[in-house]
Amino acid sequence: MLEERYTHLQMIGLVVMRVLIGWHFLYEGVAKLLDPNWSAAGYLNAAKGPMADTFKWMASTPDILEWVNFLNIWGLTLVGLFLILGLLTRYVAIAGAFMVLLYYLANPPFIGYFSSVPTEGSYLLVNKNLVEIAALFVIAVTHSGRYAGLDRIFYRLFHRKGAVEEREFTGATV
């Protein structure tokens, strides 16, 4: 299996990053949940870049928009919750990265595209969405949920070879 060894500090770093991203997702979801008038239409209509037409089409098709709203609210909420809890960590990290990728594509900081919305910083190709995608990728390829998270408990209960793999997390002493 995996040969890498992670120190406690490295694992704690990953867990903290996971929880912070989870918090961000969860509040984005909850805030939309609490606002009965929230709709993705505004964001979709402001879309720029090569996929702008697709996003605008979503906003203008009520059937699709209903789904987009539903998936956004609950996707954000559940991904956030699961990331914080460390449950199905790697799968929800991939799902979360996919969602943020869509946000990135809807308003990409590509050369020549200037967002009309006042932004709080300056971005060229790389923006915070892309950084969050990269961070979620790191979460997806590591086992922070099995270090600190409900995944650990399920892993222990259902996985026979757990003993060996645990070394990944506690390795420093070997």
């Binding site: 867990v15 929880v19 989870g22 918090w23 969860l26 509040y27 909850v30 609490l34 009965p36 008038n37 203008s60 098709t61 009520p62 059937d63 209903e66 919750l81 914080i84 809890l85 460390g86 270090y147 600190a148 998270g149 409900l150 995944d151 650990r152 408990i153 222990r156 209960l157 026979r160 070879k161 757990g162 003993a163 060996v164 645990e166 070394r167 506690t170 002493t173 070997v174």
Partner: protein, 475 residues
């Protein structure tokens, strides 16, 4: 530490055996759980902060002694939702019923109300609602224009006070019947020209125009509502209303039902939807009804199949004010949103640019260089000190004899951060309680309807049409 790790390591060397769960796994497995507690606490704090801020701006404390009013809503579409949102921020209202022929809107309104602890009955037929909801004292109507008259008149006759959206009606006969029904029943009828209750408009009219007379004599007015290109409104397929039912309620198709504003016989087009708000302000500030109107308009951009009314209209009104003649221009278009919407009153001493929105470069007053100084009014706080003009040394501007120096800009010191319709609805409900007079009673709404509906007539006639003074009266 190392001892324990050694022990663990030993355990781990036996891979085939299911190791089971240890206390340490449970602890570490749930290590991040407290974060949710912190999250919940933070969200709770955030929500209570928001609610407290809202409560503060609404002055719930003083309002709490107001009598509770039972309310019903007829028409829960886009505008009905806007009114509903505003009403949910008005204390001491109790919603009893909602009526809409479209399940999609009806369900949404009921769900929204439920969130705010209002248990309401949903109706498709407004007559049934009026029959059954005996406790309802006030009805708010936000249906398509051609339904305003029947909805309002039947509600008034059922003994309810009515707040009806503008345009009062799509026909003058309808509007007249509404005024008469209000008189007959002695019930209140407020028309939804909500700028009439907007603190900024009231301030500008009462303080700046009337009291300080900062504009001098108003000779010209212009205003506009420019909108970007708009697609037709759609609908989720599974919420399509059967053709039979649509016909019963006066619509040919689902497309027509959703986009009624653009159809003859149902609405009045942009000049009525948008223009009536602003032209109503012309009449108010000039304290007169117009004597004549010229207009040019057409269906210049959209397919006449789906947009029967004019997408573009340009209008000139003539007024005889107490101080002399005045001319007022108005335009609306749905092809370009340049400068948004505003009204501009131009007097021989100053210019007032006012808008419901803060986003339209408006809400400032400009002093003509030839006008007497405004120092007194600046000191009294009626307007702010002028913005210092930008130095133009580089450009070496020389004024030609045909030009004048640009007027100085002063800001109007009224912050209006509220839902646009809330003050007007508050005024209505306080009138129901007997505490205030209506800011836009049926008669005022009627004068506005006469003024605006004539534009479509003038476009059709392609000539100047005159108003007789008695046209504005209902007898």
């Amino acid at each position: 530490m190392s001892e324990r790790d050694d022990k663990q390591l030993q355990e781990k060397t036996d891979p085939g055996e299911k190791r089971g769960i240890e206390r340490r796994d449970i602890l570490q497995g749930m290590a991040t759980l407290p974060v949710l507690g912190l999250f919940g606490y933070a969200v709770h704090k955030q929500v209570s902060y928001k609610n407290a801020t809202i409560a503060q701006t609404l002055g719930t404390a003083q309002a709490s002694d107001l009598r509770e009013v039972n309310v019903a809503l007829i028409g829960a579409g886009a505008q009905g939702q806007v009114l509903l949102d505003a009403m949910l921020k008005i204390p001491n209202l109790r919603f009893r019923a909602v009526c809409d022929i479209w399940e999609f809107n009806l369900g949404r309104a009921i769900r929204t109300l439920k969130k705010y602890d209002h248990e309401v009955n949903g109706y498709e037929d407004y007559r049934e609602m009026l029959d059954k909801e005996k406790d309802v004292e006030a009805v708010v109507i936000a249906t398509p224009d051609f339904w305003h008259a029947p909805h309002t008149i039947d509600s008034l006759r059922a003994g309810k006070h009515v707040y009806c959206e503008k345009e009062m009606s799509n026909t003058l006969e309808g509007a007249r019947a509404m005024v008469l029904a209000a008189r007959e029943t002695g019930k209140l009828l407020q028309i939804g020209h909500q700028r009439r209750s907007n603190p900024r408009y009231i301030y500008c009219y009462e303080k700046l125009v009337k009291e300080a007379k900062l504009l001098g004599r108003i000779v010209t007015v212009n205003g506009q509502w420019n909108r970007a290109v708009q697609e037709d409104l759609g609908y989720p397929k599974r919420y399509e209303i059967p053709a039979e039912k649509l016909r019963q309620y006066g619509y040919k198709s689902m497309e027509q039902f959703r986009n009624w504003r653009w159809y003859r016989g149902l609405g009045g087009g942009p000049i009525v939807d948008l223009g009536s708000h602003q032209i109503d302000i012309y009449n108010w500030f000039l304290e007169a009804n117009p004597v004549a109107v010229m207009a040019s308009g057409g269906n210049d951009y959209y397919s006449p199949e789906t947009r029967e009314w004019y997408d573009t209209a340009m209008v000139v009104y003539e007024y005889h004010t107490a101080e002399g003649p005045a001319r007022a221009y108005y335009q609306t278009q749905t092809t370009n949103s340049s400068l948004g919407y505003f009204e501009r009153f131009m007097g021989d001493q100053g210019t007032l640019v006012i808008s419901e929105s803060d986003a339209n470069y408006a809400n400032a007053i400009y002093r003509e260089v030839t006008a007497p100084p405004w120092d007194e009014w600046i000191q009294k706080g009626y307007v702010t000190a002028p913005k210092v003009a930008e130095v133009q040394e580089e450009r070496n501007v020389v004024l030609d004899v045909r030009e004048s120096v640009s007027p100085e800009e002063h800001k109007i010191p009224i912050e209006f951060v509220d839902l646009y319709h809330r003050p007007h609805l508050m005024n209505f409900f306080n009138a129901v309680r007997g505490l205030e007079k209506l800011n836009c009673p049926a008669e005022v709404g009627y004068e506005s309807a006469v003024t605006v509906l004539k534009v479509n007539e003038a476009i059709e006639a392609k000539r100047r049409l005159e108003f007789r003074p008695e046209e504005f009266e209902v007898s």
